[in-house]
Structure formats: C-alpha cells, structure tokens
C-alpha cells in the first residue's frame, strides 16, 4: 500500500544524461511500467526509487514520507533484478530467507511467511535447489518469492523477463500481473519491450534520454501519443510517418505527396503552409494494386506472414519504409509497385521540429 511521488529527480553519469528533472506520481496499488530504449534512464529511475542510487537533486516521497536519504531496506520495498538475480551459492529457501534476515521478525513468523509465499508461487519443490539448477522460469518465481516474502509497500522490477524465451515471457507476464492484482501492491516495472508494457501496465511512463515523454494508460499512449517518439516506440508493427503540409484557406486541407484531404475542423488553430508529420498505424493504411489520383506509390520491400494477418513492408520513393497490415492471403512479390492511402480521420499529426503532437 503505497503512493510514490518523485519530485524533480536528476542524476547524471558523466556526459550522458541519466535522468533530468523527472516528476512522477505513482498511485497506490498501481502497476506502472517504465518503458523506453536502453539508456533512457528507466533503470536509473528505478534504482533511485529503490535507494540504490542517490539522486543528484530532487526528492523521493513514499506515502508522504521523504525517503530520499533512507537506505533501501528502510523504504519497505522489494526488488527483482535483471534475469531474476539470486545469490548463486544459496538455495531457493536460503535466498528467500535472506530477505527477512534484517527484518527483525521472529523465527516462527519467518517460517510461516516463507511457507505461505512458497504456496502462493507454487515453488515448494524448488526451495532446496541452487539457482544454477533452476530453469529461467523457476528462477523468476523464486526471485519473485524472495521479493514478496517481505510484504513490501512497493515492488520494483528491473527487466526481470528480458533474458527469458518468448513463450515463457508470455506466461510469466500474466502471472506477475495476476499476483500484483491479488496482493494489491504498488508495482513499478521497467522494460524496453513495448508489448510487455501495453499488456501489463495500468499506466505506462515512456522515457527517452532521461526525460519523461508521456505518462498515461496504455490506451492513451497508443491512441493519443504526446510526441513523435512515443508514437514511433509504442505499437507493433510501429507507426508510419509521412511528411505533409497544411494548406490554409477557407477550409484547411492537408497534403501528403499526391494525397490531399479535408481536415474537417481538425488542426483549426494551425496556420496555413505549416509542415507537419503525419502518423498512421499500419492497420489504417490501405494498400491496392492500381492507384487513383490521390494515392501514394511505393514498391514492395518485404512481406511478413503472421498467420491471421500479414505485414507488408513498402519502400516509399524517398527510401523510407512503411508497414501496413494486409489480409493473410495477399501475395506481393518484392519489387511490385503498389499504391496506398489512408483516411485523414485515422491520422495523427506532429510538429516535425519539436516532435509534439498537434491536436
């Protein structure tokens, strides 16, 4: 049960920005995902919440208490590290016990908690094995047990699933969410995998180069990205970008290459002759063989079959790649010339220089 409040957190590593002026509120019982490419500061943020790193400036507040100067174990947090780190020379049970060694709990209480945790995570048979004798998924479960046995206020996870194979990741992902919802513990989960973020998070905080780009529900981040970066990072296959231009006049219109469309009241505040970046999801692109006056031409670069649908990758005349989702039956040899277009209602607009959304 904890709210976390980060106020103006900064931390630099040499020349590279670790985190810059980060403000973030995490609600009680929430599963917040810190999402971003490597080096974006998400792990740094997590380490600062944990107390493993001291911020250069700013405050970490947990439940209205300023914990910035408290060592990690006095913050009542638990952390699962990358690839489910455990003490390699200790058995599963000893690893779990290490979490309670400094807790000051009585012997019976400790034994009760360990067996209770082992039941919750179904790891009874793993307790007497060394981590090197456990599979990736089993290690993950033991590491999770080690974290929850403390009954922490906050649960911090640093890419715990990154080293596992895809099928296992899928299973463990839902197990973790299920556990978090049952225990109603605030959880901060760091990942660079946007699918993991979309499927697990109550809210997602997208970070880049030490800054928070956007924080919001998966729906917000996917459908209403605040910046070009978020639009390009979230979603698979990723969003497509086309340079365009707003033509002012009585009823403003948008031009994108040979395409032109009515804006129907959108972007009303933008003056004419403004360059914009148009972003369109792959499922909103229409690909066809013969074009008309208002279509864009492209050539087939590759076709990826996903079973229930296919992704066609097209090369635009300016060599940029565009991805569109097409029916699974579509056959398109590499090099074929195709036409594509989209509805203006499905497009999002961004300022090409600042990267901010224009709504």
């Amino acid at each position: 049960m904890a709210r976390i409040n980060l106020q103006g957190i900064s931390k630099k590593f040499g020349a590279s920005a670790g985190v810059e002026w980060l403000d973030m509120q995490i609600a009680d019982g929430e599963l917040l995902i810190l999402l971003g490419p490597s080096g974006c500061g998400k792990s740094t943020t997590l380490n600062i919440i944990a107390g493993l790193m001291a911020p250069a400036s700013g405050k970490v507040i947990i439940n209205d208490e300023d914990v910035t100067d408290l060592p990690p174990h006095q913050r009542n947090i638990a952390m699962v590290f990358q690839s489910a780190l455990l003490y390699p020379h200790l058995t599963g049970r000893q690893n779990i016990l290490m979490s309670l060694k400094r807790s000051g709990l009585g012997r019976e209480e400790i034994a009760r908690r360990v067996s209770e945790t082992a039941t919750i995570l179904d790891i009874g048979p793993l307790l007497d094995k060394l981590p090197s004798h456990l599979s990736g998924g089993e290690r993950q479960r033991v590491a999770t047990a080690k974290a929850i046995v403390r009954q922490p206020d906050v649960f911090l996870l640093d890419e715990p699933l990154a080293a596992l194979d895809a099928a296992l990741r899928l299973t463990l992902r839902s197990e973790l969410v299920n556990l978090q919802k049952r225990l109603r513990t605030t959880m901060v989960f760091v990942t660079h995998d946007q699918t993991e973020a979309m499927t697990m998070g109550d809210r997602i905080a997208v970070m880049r180069a030490g800054r928070l780009e956007q924080i919001g529900t998966p729906d917000d981040v996917y459908n209403r990205p605040d910046t070009l970066f978020v639009a390009g990072f979230v979603g698979s296959p990723p969003m497509n970008f086309f340079p365009g231009e707003i033509i002012g006049g009585e009823s403003p219109r948008l031009r994108c290459g040979a395409m032109e469309g009515e804006l129907k009241g959108r972007l009303a505040t933008v003056p004419g002759n403004t360059q914009v970046m148009i972003a369109v999801r792959p499922q909103h692109l229409r690909v066809r063989e013969e074009g008309g006056p208002g279509t864009l031409s492209a050539t087939v670069f590759a076709l990826e079959h996903l079973g229930k649908e296919s992704v066609i990758i097209l090369e635009m005349p300016d060599r940029t790649k565009v991805r569109a989702i097409v029916d699974p039956g579509v056959r398109a040899p590499v090099g074929t010339a195709l036409q594509l277009d989209f509805d203006m209602e499905d497009a999002l607009f961004f300022d090409p220089t600042t990267g901010h959304a224009i709504r």
Partner: protein, 287 residues
C-alpha cells in the same frame, strides 16, 4: 569428419602429456637409481633396481641397497631439511598474507568505482609485468642496510611484492564475473562489510581458493630472490638449498630426489583443490 578431428584431439593430448610427463619421469627415474645406474650408457629407461636411497640420503640417512651397496647420507642434507622447513613456513605465511590483502583489494577494483581507479590499476599491472630480476639489486642494497639479508622476514616481504599484484590481477577477473549481488544485498538490508564477508567471499570461494593456491606455488617456487638473499643462511629455502648440489661432486640421484621432493606439495595441493579449479565457472548461467 568428427571422428577424424577426435583422433587429432587424442593425438594432441598424447603429445602434450608426453611433453609434460617425460621430463618428470626422467627426474623420478634418476632419483630411484644408484650412481652407476645413472651413468649407464645407453640410458636405462626403467631403473633396474628402484630403491628410495637418494630420498633418504638427502634427508640425512644412510641406505644400503639390496645388493649391499652403501649409499651415504648427503652432505647437503641439513640444508635440504632447513630449506624444506623454511619453504613451507614461508609459503604458508605468504599465502595467508597475500589473501588477506588481495581478496579485499581485488574486490574493490573489480566491483567498485572510485577516483583514480585506472591509474592504480595501471600500477598493479606494472608490478605484474616487472621482471623480478629488475628489482633484485635495489632490494639487495636496501636489505643490506636494513639487515634483512639472510632472513625469512626479508624474503617474505619480497615474495609479497610478486604475489600480491599477480594474484590481485587474477582474482579481479574472477570477481568481475560474479553476478551483481551487491544491489540484492543492499535491498536485503546488509552492510557493505556483511555483503563482502558473508556473500561475496562464500560465493567466490572457488576463485579465492585457486588464487591462494597460486600464491602458495609462487612462494614455493620462488628462486631468484632466494638465491641472492638467503643462500647459505639459516633462512635458506628449498629451491636455493638445492643449488648446493651443483657445487659438489655430481650426485644426480640426490639432485633428482630433491627436485621430486619440491614437486610433492604442489601436486598434493592441486589434487585436493581440483574440484575448485573446475568449479570456477560459478557465474550466473543465464547471463
């Protein structure tokens, strides 16, 4: 294809084994023969009447062979016994002192960041790369003034200048590969000292044991400084004592026997610690 490369592999191993073991065998053979058997031409591949006379001689005992030849005790026996005692004391002390310094030192270099780390590391590497001979004369003139020539204490200090940098360098690489348990320990509420003493050291015990073994072997085998600093004194070590054979009536069997004697402690050590040597890949299997 696979069978052929396997055959090459076996041949390579056989050649490597012969290369390593033949000289050892030759020494052991000498040690088990009498003077006349040693000087037989062509050389005898197997000792015709193997007997432990040479070993007893260098330890100060007479021995009469089955055919009635008396093999008298070696004049070097007292030096050998003294050398054996000194070498053991020195090697044990050097190993303990080295490990007390090196384990924390290597840990700090391997796992923590601090100012001027690179320069200090460079100093260690420099110490590793310096040939011992280059510091021999400075040490000698220093020791003359400090009255440390011919003392075990003097040899102890000099040997540490070899073992500490070398073993630090070796152990650092091992400790670097251990998983980042420090963060885990801090989350669990342990102090840095506790994490080092109760988590890192037990976790890294294989590497530490092997490092200790290397310190022991370096001290045990150290010859250059011993020859200059302690030969002829009460602090003589086994390698230095053995050179005494070179200045006497040639007794190849005695020399061979004392060489064999120096091989025994390292062999015993490696035999009992081989489990740790093979266990060195204790690192996280997933990383």
């Amino acid at each position: 294809m696979a069978a052929r490369s396997k055959l090459w592999g076996i041949m390579f191993v056989v050649v490597a084994l012969l290369w390593t073991l033949m000289p050892l065998y030759w020494i052991v053979r000498f040690a088990l023969e009498t003077q006349s058997e040693v000087s037989h031409f062509p050389p005898l591949f197997f000792p015709p009447n193997p007997q432990p006379g040479a070993f007893l001689n260098i330890l100060g005992f007479n021995y009469t062979t089955a055919s009635g030849i008396l093999l008298p005790a070696s004049g070097q026996a007292s030096q050998i016994l003294l050398g054996l005692r000194n070498s053991l004391i020195l090697a044990v002390l050097v190993t303990i002192a080295t490990m007390l310094v090196v384990v924390p030192l290597a840990y700090v270099f391997a796992r923590l960041d601090f100012a001027h780390k690179g320069k200090l590391l460079g100093a260690i590497l420099l110490a590793v790369s310096l040939p011992p001979v280059s510091t021999l004369i400075p040490f000698y003139s220093l020791y003359v003034q400090l009255n440390l020539v011919g003392t075990l204490a003097g040899l102890f200090i000099v040997t540490l200048t070899i073992t500490i940098p070398l073993v630090t360098w070796m152990l650092m690489g091992f400790l670097k590969n251990l998983p980042p348990v420090e963060s885990l320990g801090r989350i669990d509420g342990f102090s840095r000292t506790y994490i080092f003493m109760r988590i890192v050291v037990p976790m890294g015990k294989s590497g530490i044991v092997v490092a200790a073994m290397i310190a022991f072997l370096f001290s045990w085998n150290e010859y250059v400084y011993a020859q200059v600093l302690v030969t002829g004194s009460n602090a003589v070590t086994l390698p230095a004592a053995m050179t005494g054979f070179l200045f006497q009536v040639p007794q190849p069997a005695h020399l061979a026997a004392s060489l064999t004697l120096t091989l025994i402690p390292p062999f015993v050590l490696v035999f009992f610690l081989q489990r740790h040597i093979t266990e060195l890949n204790l690192v996280d299997p997933i990383r």
